[in-house]
Point group: C2
Chain length 550, copies 2
């Protein structure tokens, strides 16, 4: 049965590739989709222009990859959908975050300008770039000293992966790059800018529409008070006082609101018609909430891929220690949107499978036959630091309980269980603070692929977990926002668009097994003790970071 | 140049195989040698007679393997040496310890009797059998309560791997096996018994010569006071009170002293002449001291293979917390012999190489190119528990400091460094107690194979390390004892036999590199903090053992 129009298009920029979805605005069915892998992938060993070795905690990307791959995937999807481009009503964009870059006044990334191409700080920093450790410390320290009110909304800690630490890192490591930058900008906002004003070098900086989602969760922006004050920024670094007014042009715009319309140049690039409305960008994980058909409160959406985000809409605003952020209207209008996160989930499993003799499939099969507890192996899943609740990029992963009999599948299962314990900790923090969490919907790449992981999560949480119907709920969420950008954006419209275009599967439903409860209650308690934030292991981990060589 | 006679023969029983050396008593040169692998290897998954699954902490052996392989290797070595069997003056035997078994009055292992063959407790328990956890606790608890004087000689703790815990395990798990056993006996003593009185079922139990080495280090025996008292044993278990008098026949005999002479049946089995003097057995590691040409005090001999032992002769007897044991004349006459140990060294490296995608060679090569600190990965090497100084089989291995960038070679090197830190801890304990340690000689399978490991040890200790000349210093030590059994055994004879038959290599000498000192001092301190015996990690490890499934 043909998928009927009209359509919207969702661009979903992930860590390794961009996915383009062409979706019916009537029922959310996918007319066609296409994925294009970034030729440069994650740039974490050497700089492409010079071959210079990068520090071990660097993770950069190539901005030309984003444009080229978006164009290629979009053309391919529209072609295979076989639809009339006139029937495309809107475009939505989600992007990893905080992935950010320095650009000039015309939208050109600094790293694509000859004079800056050899300077790592001129390149886009991927969300998992961890180069800004001392800068994060300073940003937190000054905020605490000044008792900045906005700090409580971020669980008391600004993350190593956020926007201003990355800006300050550039300012300190390469003042020239900082001086030459007209616009520090989120990659999602940059891509939208290319569509509605460019592409570069034809962009006009007054056209920039910065997403309230990215700004709210990653750049300390708030609807009532805006960005932190110039006094705060000046206290962090004398040259940073005017960063918002002089190096962050444009206005703020909520996801689902119209940021602008597709320029003729951008239309040509993508093989679309000029003038299509484009929504402001949204963070990829947050896009998974509408994409999973969740329009109300108390339902936690677990977006589980290389890393994991937990998203929850609530009618109450509470101070929750360690969460990534709470932003009013940050996910959907009318709610306080809570964001929590785990910095490595699929990435951690992949790291293990890559280094062990057995591959993912064998490890999964053998791990599934093991009882809870992985034969006495306990892992800490912080191979990329701990996002919620420690917000500490210097803690690291660990395995405890190894014996000469330990099997690879036990290591693998232990890592899965560790991510489940991390999730349970997050849920407990919310509930302890008085934020209700009653239902769980999983989406992203892993849940459909790993029934074992979902069963472990259900067992460890003691809660039912349902799956989003779409395998591409994040991309679908972007397409829903594209649809919203084409119409008026009252709350009623949002609700009906979400429920029309997305929903959950009726099966499988992962239910907690009572026989697993005792073991997981004990192991969760051991996980908490072992990972105790000021305990000797965590202190050791932090000191060990000084031995990191690559 | 032909190796000139007369000769002695050393039988070296390892974990996987027996090695037989035919050696010149004049200069220690090897006329021939042969290795034979035990067909049943380490029995740790299923019982050969029934196929029944064994508990995860079991490690048994097949006694017929010992006889068959000894005969095969002995015949092969003598044949390839091309010597006149009349020129063989003596036989020495070293054996892993505490490897022990229940036998009847005629030398027959219970497991080879039809009615007991299906009962795991009737089988020989290999040194690394860890089934006697609760029994070890009880043996320690009663000794502490009764303030048994002998406890201090063992660092205050009896080990999980020792003789009486294994006996008590059998008594508790299978009282029938205990009742049917006439002789609980060390495997090395059992083999000597077969040579001088058997083989079974022709042995006479009054011929048993129990080695003072095995008895002293593994069975709480002391030259001045004998075994612990019947009152002590009865307090441990009512049926154990008479264990020494009723179930441990024979007399005690020091290594190098003549236990007896080869019977005609045993001579036929081995392809040798009847009547050759046979030395009392010695523990394999201890045999490495004379085998490394070390006849004096203050030189620590590191025997490094699947596990590691550290042996030191000293003129002073001190209480050293956590050491395995101090036995007067336990290694060489005239000294207090100190034994310390690490329960997994080569075993731990093999476990890792077996499970990782890269093999030993690649891992070694890449690990050698890394700076000290393994890129911030710290390991605890307790994959088989911690022998010295914690004497705790329930602690386990761990890796801390893992990131998504961690490479297999970093795990491998971290494990090497961990064993070096464990060694440094042992040396520090001795020196803190006032026992001088001035020189280091390494022997065993690993030192010659892994220059990287030796350099790490030199760097971490801050000391020079020399290698034993012989690649088979343990087996050579046994042959030296065989030579001693053929002559009178005054101290002067011991010294001259040792220095005539064994020595150290002039090169390589591993010297500490000053540039590694700072990093290793810090990492050693982190190792000590992380592994702190009553710290949260160690407590977690102990609790995790209850999740062990296989």
């Amino acid at each position: 049965m043909a998928v009927s129009g009209p359509y919207s298009i969702g661009f979903d920029f992930g860590t390794e590739s961009v996915r383009v979805l062409v979706v019916s605005t009537a029922d959310g069915r996918i007319a066609a989709q296409s994925v294009s892998n970034y030729p440069h992938g994650v740039i974490d060993s050497t700089l492409p222009t010079t071959g210079a070795k990068l520090p071990p905690d660097y993770a950069l990307q190539h901005p030309q990859d984003w444009l080229d791959c978006a164009a290629k995937a979009c053309k391919s999807a529209v072609k295979s959908a076989g639809i009339d481009p006139q029937d495309i009503l809107g475009i939505g964009v989600d992007f990893t975050s905080c992935t950010m870059l320095p650009a000039d006044a015309h939208g050109t990334p600094l790293c694509l300008l000859e004079q800056w191409s050899k300077e790592p700080q001129a390149w886009p920093k991927l969300w998992k770039h961890h180069g800004a450790k001392t800068q994060t410390d300073r940003i937190n320290q000054i905020a605490q000293e000044r008792k900045e009110a906005w700090l409580a909304r971020y669980g008391g800690t600004i993350g190593l992966e956020w926007f201003f630490p990355k800006v300050l890192e550039a300012l300190e490591r390469s003042p020239e790059v900082y001086d030459a930058t007209r616009n520090w900008i989120e990659a999602g906002d940059w891509f939208v800018w290319q569509l509605i004003s460019g592409p570069f070098p034809h962009c006009n900086e007054s056209d920039i529409a910065r997403s309230t989602c990215q700004a709210g969760y990653k750049a300390m922006w708030n609807n009532k008070t805006g960005f932190p004050s110039p006094e705060y920024f000046a206290a962090v670094h004398p040259k940073l006082g005017d960063v918002v007014t002089t190096r962050m042009s444009g206005s703020l715009c909520a996801p689902g609101k119209r940021a602008g319309r597709l320029t003729s140049r951008a239309a040509e690039l993508l093989g679309l018609e000029e003038g299509i409305p484009v929504s402001a960008a949204i963070i990829d994980a947050h896009s998974g909430v509408p994409g999973a058909g969740v329009a109300g409160d108390k339902t936690m959406v677990l977006v589980i891929g290389t890393s994991a985000c937990q998203m929850l809409n609530s009618k109450v605003e509470k101070v929750v220690p360690g969460i990534a952020g709470v932003v009013e209207d940050g996910i959907l209008p009318g709610y306080f949107g809570y964001e929590m996160g785990q910095a490595s989930v699929g990435d951690a499993f992949a790291w293990l499978a890559q280094n062990l003799k057995l591959g993912h499939d064998e490890l999964n099969r053998e791990a599934a036959s093991l009882p809870p507890g992985s034969g006495g192996v306990l892992a800490l899943d912080w191979l990329n630091g701990c996002r919620t609740p420690l917000m500490d990029g210097r803690v690291s992963g660990s395995f405890v309980g190894l014996t000469l009999n330990t099997k690879p599948a036990q290591l693998y299962r232990a890592l899965m269980e560790a991510t489940a314990f991390g999730l349970r900790w997050i849920v407990q923090l919310l509930r302890d603070a008085g934020v209700p969490v009653e239902r769980f919907v999983a989406s992203g790449g892993l849940p459909a692929k790993s029934p074992l992981l979902m069963q472990i999560y259900a067992d460890v949480l003691g809660e039912e977990i349902r799956l989003a119907e779409s395998d591409n709920s994040v991309a679908l969420g972007a397409a829903i926002l594209g649809s919203l950008a084409s119409i008026t954006d009252s709350k009623a419209d949002t609700r009906s668009a979400v429920t029309a275009m997305a929903r959950q599967r009726s099966e499988p439903v992962y239910r907690p097994r009572s026989e697993a409860k005792g073991a997981y209650d004990r192991l969760y308690s051991l996980y908490r003790t072992t990972g105790e934030c000021d305990g000797p292991l965590a202190r050791t981990m932090r000191e060990l970071r000084s031995f990191a060589t690559e």
